[in-house]
Subunit: 130 residues, 2 copies
Amino acid sequence: MTHNDRLTKGAKKVLEILGRSEELTSAQDIHSRLRTDDERAPGLTTVYRSLESLVGQGLVQAVDLGDGERRYEVVKPGEHHHHLICDKCNSSVHLDQCLVHDLEDAIKSKYGFSTRAHILEIFGTCSDCQ
Amino acid sequence: MTHNDRLTKGAKKVLEILGRSEELTSAQDIHSRLRTDDERAPGLTTVYRSLESLVGQGLVQAVDLGDGERRYEVVKPGEHHHHLICDKCNSSVHLDQCLVHDLEDAIKSKYGFSTRAHILEIFGTCSDCQ
DNA sequence: GGTAGAATGAAAACCATTATCATATCCACC
DNA sequence: GGTGGATATGATAATGGTTTTCATTCTACC
């Protein structure tokens, strides 16, 4: 019925953890949370493989903050969004709109460049931490 | 007279290599190019340290393409810019204007978030490779 | 049931980057 | 000039997230 049929057991558990997470979550975080709930939960290798599959299916997006540790979060299938990441409290606010999307036409006409993907993350201080 | 007075020998050589580079260049690339010219050139450790210093001084910017290998390029002191990176030929075109800068005020008023830094890189197909 | 292909796990390999620590070099000051 | 303390450098080892490897376990289908 749904795309879930395509998910392995491991991937379903990974998706479930991600679905409950408020914040961006690393593979290792996912793994240790799974193992906290159930010591027979998927191993780290499976977590990585599941994430790769979920990202490939457009159900999860990987976020690279440039600190050597990739984070993940659930997205609406095929969509993506960017973040305002607070240096002080590490919270991340979703931008409700992709700032790059609107510029794609302008980039195409100015540079003849067809965009396929992009990275955009903004760091600073959130309203609570001002 | 100039900021160059603050640069160590190693950093000067690194900066020279970067200055001659058309493309984004990794630390390891810089190192092997240095060693090609002169087998007594700075070691990899010094290259990394020099890059850290140059980035700190605003003379070089680090670019993270999310592939686990940081690249570097010379910038006008204190400035930065973003790229259109072609998936096919790996060329990178500089955007002549920072797309995020213009949005900082809007982000501040909408989210109360003060921006400090950001990552933005755009991937796709360049005009030559269309 | 039996079997091929997929999924999984433990452990090892990878690899860019950092830390360590000993040596070489610089430079201010006498 | 010399000299001593700070700075720079280099070889090597360590780090740590991610990938590979390969053997084992599941699962779907005939």
